[in-house]
Amino acid sequence: MALTVCSRSFINRSRFSSLVYSYFNKNIVQMLPPCQAASNSTKDADQSRMQRGLPKKLPIGGVDQVIVVASGKGGVGKSTTAVNLALSLKELDKTKLVGILDADVYGPSIPKMMNLKGPVHLNKQQLMMPLVNYDIKCMSMGFLIEDEKDPIVWRGLMVMSAIQRLLRQVSWGPLDYLVVDMPPGTGDVQLTMSQNIPIDGAVIVTTPQDVALLDARKGTEMFRKVEVPVLGVVQNMSAYECPKCGHTEHIFGKDGATNLAKEMNLPIIGDIPLHIKIRETSDSGAPIIVSHPNSSQVTKVNFVI
């Protein structure tokens, strides 16, 4: 019920000229299923899961909606999309409480992108306090390692345990949205997340080339198999415009994600160009939504309903 009211207020915010805000919020928030009290069908689903030896899905205390940003393929811009999605959710409605969980244990990018560094402190209940920047609560394995040069050489079981801690032993507090930046692949992290917490929606990020789409399809299939609703596809690095002559080059191919979305019966919820400013701002820890909210690069995002 509360979510439906929120959706109407987002539609009314036409004063926001930036298409990045509108496509993230109008599409994704509308697509999130409304919160429901536990019904008999949910209880049956739980029983069926327990009979199959799967853990019961327990929501994270204080967190309303969980959106995962995933792909299957590495290097397509999941972290960049997750960060800018969280920031635009916050920008659209400053009363909303938003958090980011960096589930990429081996290659945590959120600390750099959000310009945050450990150490992490514990509260009185011995829960880890997330670090905050741009009014977004963040938690990442990157905050917990002493030397950022140190690799995390862990087998799957250790990773499962780490993800459980990042979900359950963090004082997320009241959050309206928790955006989860997933690692590439379809392995331990994805399974642990989907089996342990209810996920309200998955956003699949891909670049246009075939090898990326191949993995994005696998990622989408995986979410469907574990019964996580897939909200749509974001096509990243879609086209590059030369700053000198204005020539547009589809470096990584054209319309790949659009075709994938049609094939899998999913909406395209974003089309982000390849632009040097997005990389520069990510590297400097000032994501483009925050540092250049009215830039022409941000407004060039194509919005397809």
Partner: protein, 292 residues
């Protein structure tokens, strides 16, 4: 040559492989598989020099132990990215399947049978099937790929690793300890979020005592085909800086090349176009350093 030396040692199935190279990164999407494929394609032809249409033997062939006749370099490419196998797609051999008799048979890419590939992609019924594996299953699969595949007498085995430092990496290193492991070739893109992960991968290599062959900086600059303006979309120099800082060899830069992407998307003609680009020269320079 002693018969026992050439006989495949069943207990040590990769003992006859002269050079094993790991293509690693730590970061996803930097071009590990792309570079692995192009290195393999270039390496298999490394023994030949075309002079006025006549093939002659280069000095490198003698270095590799073949003293007469035309050089015959055999290259194997192992796709260790179990959840996202890209190699069959990149080489347009997705429709082929790996046969199993006593062991798995790798799939040959070319008519001359000098480049063979093994990938979990060949074992799928449908190319779009998701491969959802936890750690123990990944370990078992990697072990099978290394021990239960009938590789021919390879000169080079190139192993394309997934991103991270996880089960696949630990299993590959554990299983390759006793073989001729040349080392790891690390691929990075120039930007800071990528080099940070590669720095961790380098630490991993040092901790597990894997020799580091060097760093390659991929997607280093894009030259507009119309005005020739070079824009460093993903920054520039990050890989070289990392190599200098950590005192490992810097093997070269590969610019962003749309032809690579088009070739991977199944346009076989694009391989011919790619071979005429400056980017192909970059790959050539890296191969020269590799076989030195």
């Amino acid at each position: 040559m002693d018969h026992m030396e050439t006989k495949k040692n069943v207990e040590r199935p990769l003992a006859f492989v002269k050079h094993i190279i790991l293509i690693m990164s730590g970061k996803g999407g930097v071009g590990k598989s792309t570079v692995a494929v192009h290195l393999a394609l270039r390496l298999k032809n490394a023994g030949f020099k075309v002079i006025r249409g006549v093939r002659t033997v280069r000095a490198k062939i003698r270095y590799l132990g073949i003293t007469e006749g035309i050089g015959n370099i055999l290259v194997g490419l192992l796709d260790a990215d179990l959840c996202g196998p890209s190699i069959p797609t990149m080489l347009n051999i997705e429709q082929k399947k790996s046969k199993f008799s006593k062991n798995w048979e790798p799939v040959f890419v070319d008519m001359e049978q000098r480049l063979c590939v093994m990938s979990v992609g060949f074992l799928l019924t449908n190319r779009n099937d998701a491969i959802i594996l936890r750690g123990p299953k990944k370990n078992a699969t990697i072990k099978q790929f290394l021990n239960d595949v009938d590789w021919p007498d390879l000169d080079y085995l190139i192993i394309d690793m997934p991103p991270g430092t996880s089960d696949e990496h630990i299993s590959v290193i554990e299983n390759l300890r006793e073989y001729n492991l040349d080392g790891a070739l690390l691929i990075t893109t120039p930007q800071a979020v990528a080099t940070g992960d590669v720095r961790r991968e380098l630490s991993f290599c040092k901790k597990t005592v894997i020799p580091i062959i060097g760093i390659v900086e991929n997607m280093s600059g894009f030259v507009c085909p119309y005005c020739q303006e070079c824009t460093n979309i993903f920054s520039k120099g990050g890989g070289e800086f990392l190599a200098n800082q950590l005192e490992v060899p810097f093997l070269g830069r590969i610019p962003i090349c749309p032809q690579i992407s088009r070739y991977q998307d199944g346009h076989a003609e694009s391989l011919k176009l790619f071979s005429q680009t400056n980017e192909a020269d970059s790959i050539e320079a890296i191969v020269k350093k590799l076989v030195k």
